[in-house]
């Protein structure tokens, strides 16, 4: 026991030393360096048919644990502690889960700030549909409907319904899709979903083209399809308010080895692709979902008067003040400085009185200075940073601003000199008058 205790001590000292060595980036990691991921499948063949995707995750340090959805020992929590940092749900047809897992526990998992990848497919279960709906994604009512596009499909012998979509309408965000983006169209075969336009938490990452529609190829279409055109989303992500991230795909095969290495030619296009963009897309977006990219953190919010580094409890109107904050981005292993030219701070009381863009030094330190407006009240330094694909930074710090003290006004105002002189001349005159009146006669 004593040995073990000493070992812990030593290791903690090493950790501290390492922390000091790494300087300003000594922030403790928000997330596990080796996140544990639970992969739920309804058929263990998925493990091998999607092995490329899983291998890329394992290479990046994730510890994957494969379980069947029907596994009776299934549990996300143990004594109130979550056992996993992420969940991959590659079981489109699962109606029930074994053990203690159910819809509510999966949603609680998300609400606790953990991440989820959910892949649906044709014939998806009501359970998955409910989970997706709770996350703001509505799948086509008809579980057997597939996305069909007679103009943007990949030519293939097996696909006669034009349901093997070669989609290339990506969201314009390097945070979500990486710096390079997808170089080739992504192959998609599966069910369509839509996102309510008012829902600003869900982002359509991969949308269908204008000529796509959703229908069941087995049944004759009696009316206009319930989903059509660009309103169809193929892959969407949700970033919840607590920064939990959820990926919802209408196609499980998008992640499959088969699609990863599928050479194809897009209909009507002369270029043929040796490989589809799927592998790159899946890897990049999994990086985003598991917070390897776009995860920001603002620390060390500090403000003070110019020339006085101490943080006061109250400012006075027209004070000159400086504000600084450090912003870092998580890379999966370390915090690196976040660099952007559009971070702004508001000096806010019911409405922003001052809105300043922060200057940065490239090392994550953002600063600005300004003069407090000539208005007193309880202000806030408000930093509201919402950028596509990045975590929301919303930090506010309350600070009261007081008016001048009674002795902080100017003692003598030049404009009032006529009044001063008139009052003193009046006093002098009265004194003279008094002397003359009393003693002259």
């Amino acid at each position: 026991m004593a040995m073990a205790g000493r070992a812990i001590q030593v290791s903690s000292i090493i950790v501290i030393l390492l922390g000091i060595a790494s300087g300003s980036l000594s922030l403790p990691p928000d997330r596990s360096l080796h996140p544990r991921i639970l992969v739920l499948v309804d058929d263990l063949t998925v493990k091998s048919s999607h092995s490329l995707f899983f291998a890329s995750l394992a290479d990046r340090g994730y510890r994957l644990e494969f379980k069947l959805t029907s596994d009776p020992s299934l549990a996300l929590t143990s004594y109130g502690e979550y056992l996993f940092d992420g969940l991959i749900l590659f079981a489109p047809a699962a109606e029930h889960f074994g053990g203690s897992v159910d819809i509510a526990s999966i949603l609680d998992f998300v609400d606790s700030g953990r991440d989820l990848i959910l892949a649906a497919d044709v014939g998806m279960s009501e359970t998955l549909r409910t989970i997706a709906n709770e996350c703001g994604v509505e799948f086509d009512e008809d579980s057997n409907a597939v996305v069909i596009d007679h103009l943007n499909f990949a030519e293939s012998e097996t696909d006669t319904e034009h349901s093997l979509i070669a989609a290339d309408t990506f969201v314009a965000s390097s945070a979500i899709l990486g710096e390079k983006g997808a170089e080739a169209p992504v192959l998609f075969q599966g069910i369509a979903h839509s996102v309510a336009p008012a829902n600003d938490l869900v982002i359509k990452v991969l949308s269908a083209s204008a000529s796509a529609y959703s229908a069941n190829p087995e049944v004759q279409l009696n009316g206009p399809p319930s989903l059509s055109g660009t309103s169809i989303s193929l892959v969407s992500v949700l970033q919840a308010r607590n920064n939990a991230r959820v990926l919802i795909s209408g196609s499980l095969s998008l992640f499959s080895n088969k699609f990863f290495v599928f050479p194809f030619k897009k209909f009507g296009s002369s270029t043929s692709f040796q490989r589809s963009g799927n592998q790159m897309f899946a890897e990049e977006i999994s990086k985003w979902v598991f917070h390897e990219r776009g995860h920001l953190k603002a620390v060390n919010v500090h403000h003070h008067k110019v020339g006085n580094l101490e943080e006061p409890s109250m400012y006075r109107i027209t004070d000159h003040i400086e504000y600084s904050v450090e912003i870092y981005e998580w890379t999966g292993k370390t915090w690196k400085p976040y660099v952007a030219d559009d971070v702004q701070v508001q000096f806010y009381m019911m409405s922003p009185y001052i809105l300043k863009t922060l200057n940065h030094n490239g090392q994550g330190l953002y600063t600005t200075s300004f003069q407090v407006p000539d208005v007193y009240g309880v202000f806030q330094f408000k930093l509201d940073y919402n950028r596509l694909g990045y975590t929301t930074l919303a930090i506010s710090k309350q600070i009261p601003v007081r008016p001048f003290r009674h002795n902080e006004y100017e003692r003598f105002i030049p404009a009032a000199y006529p009044y001063y002189s008139s009052s003193f001349s009046m006093m002098f005159g009265f004194f003279l008058f008094g002397v003359v009146f009393l003693y002259h006669k």
Partner: protein, 784 residues
Amino acid sequence: MGSRSVGAVGSVFASLILLLIGVLAFSIRLFSVIKYESVIHEFDPYFNFRVTQYLSKHGIYEFWNWFDDRTWYPLGRVIGGTVYPGLTLTAGFMWWLVNSLNIPLSVETVCVFTAPIFSANASWATFLLTREVKGTGAGLAAATLLAMVPSYMSRSVAGSYDNEAVAIFALIFTFYLYIKTLNTGSLFYAILNAFAYFYMVCSWGGYTFIINLIPMHVLLCIVTGRYSARLYIAYAPLIILGTILAALVPVVGFNAVMTSEHFASFLVLVLIHVVAVAYHVKRLLSPQMYKMAVMFVGMVGMAGAITLGVILVTLVAASPTKGWSGRSLSLLDPTYASKYIPIIASVSEHQPPTWPSYFMDINVLAFLVPAGIIACFCPLSDSSSFVVLYLVTAAYFSGVMVRLMLVLAPAACILSGIALSEVFSTFTRSLKYQAPLTVESQGSQDMDPSKMNNLSVNSKLGEHSALGEHSSDKPEKNELKEKSSKRSRKKEKDKEVLLKASESDKKKRLLGLPFEASAVGIVLLVILGSLYVVHCVWAAAEAYSAPSIVLTSHTPGGLHVFDDFREAYAWLRHNTEENDKVASWWDYGYQTTAMANRTVIVDNNTWNNTHIATVGTAMSSPEKQAWEIFQSLDVKYVFVIFGGLVGYPSDDINKFLWMVRIGGGVFPHIKEPDYLRDGTYRIDAQATPTMLNCLMYKLSYYRFAEASMDGKGYDRVRRTEIGRKNFKLTHFEEVFTTHHWMVRIYKLKPPRNRLRGRAKKKAKLDVKSSKLTSSKLLPRKNPF
């Protein structure tokens, strides 16, 4: 020699009586401490208490510059510049004094007992004032009446730590010094008067009453041809010095010269100078020359005055409120507030009083006052005309606002004291001269033993009768020479008494009433006086001593105490973060900051109508909009006062229409008729959907029906079954409800972590129906 010794005995006796009056005034106000506890009462006193605490902790400069960021969030309030500091400084000084004498009293104790101490002072000031007007007897009578007048008592029981407690003393004392200056013509008293006025300005916004009443009186004197140098001495220094001093009080500042409330004083100041010059010139010139001069000056002056007047009127008329503050305007035009400023009209103490409240608050004085007025007219002096003028204006103002009954009370006491003393002196005189033993040749020496006899009757009535004789010969002396100084007057008085003794005896005999009538009259007056005392003691013990933060009710099972307010405030203090913002209707703002120490959005200092209207709008809006409004104000907790379970009538549902009105005054989408069913305000099943959906209804009646015994939800204040039951709250969650459900605290829920997609069932139905219709009507093929 004999008369002098009696004078000494009389003055010692009078001092003793005054001391007892002080003790009476102090002790009759202690019922609240004995029946409840030593605690600050009501709403505003909590703010004053908090300010005094700050003063005692941080000193006077910090207090002067205090910017309070815990109220009116996020605007804050500059307390030092918006508060009348008189009360706070007085109590702070007393606390400092007591502590520097090594008597360790807490600030709270000092605050609780400030009001009783100052009501003793006020009684003494009343004595001084009335003595100046009608002599010692009237003074003592008036002081006794004031010591226990219910109207004043309602604002000055122990714990009622409000501005008025100090201000009434300052008011009477200022008037006393004015009368004193008027009677003596002494510049010393004039300067003292200006300082007393300064103290009044420090203490209460009601100082505008003084600065309008005194000019009115001066004007009256000038018009009735009573101008004298004494009047000038009493007036001019007061206005000049008083205005300069008043401008030093931060809350008044330039208002002392800029607002219309002070305009009358300056106009009269100009006038009194014109009159003074006119009198001076008249003395210098011959009558014919004077007439010519008057003609000339009159012509030129008239033209100048008219031009000036026109300029002034246009300037004043340019401002929308004619330069008057809302509260003053509602005094001049009683319908003004209810038309334009619902926030003033919503306060119960700004309502006009009912007739019973006159009887409740000044009781038998209402009947004695007319007699006092008559007494003041025979003979009419400068001072007695002032008292009459004071009464008349105060009576008008009390008719506009029930709160100003407080200003009427001293006037009523003074005049009733005069009346009582006059009547007693008449009766006792009649008794004396109609008595069979009376010898006709009684001289002045014989009067003194009779005084002695009367004085020795150790009852209140005895005092009046004895001292009434003093007062009875004062009018004579007033008639004789008002200019003469005090000392010479005393000498003259003795001579006069000797000379006129026999003549006045005859006069008195002629004025006398039959013996039996006087005896019966005295007995009746004694009964009247006892009725007054009984009423006052009852009012002190029962009506005005409840602190309103603790409620009691008498049930067959015994006394039941409702201490819900403090329970709720204690919960907030112990269970919320220090910087959390708490929203409630403004009535509870002061208490929340003082007792719970949490930031509030609005409080009883109703300086920002828009901010209050925002809270009113939130309370009258549906849950979601209300949540958004509160969220924009960073509010974390909302509480409502609900009396429906125990039958506490002044709860928020009963105040709710004012929230609607005040909110609708700024945000027109809130309309009062939406909350009324056919013009009646109701919360039962007949209530409008707007009413049943608004936040106030929901927060008040959440879980009410389920928790009630029969599941019906019977509201004991409105005496009806509530209209909407078993509803859920989506944006608020109940965090605390006090023992009797009187305070219900809710927390705003954070925004949802995820946004759900469209409700599934609905979507299915829609799709199905559309499918059905489309398939039936338009059988089309796949269009692609």
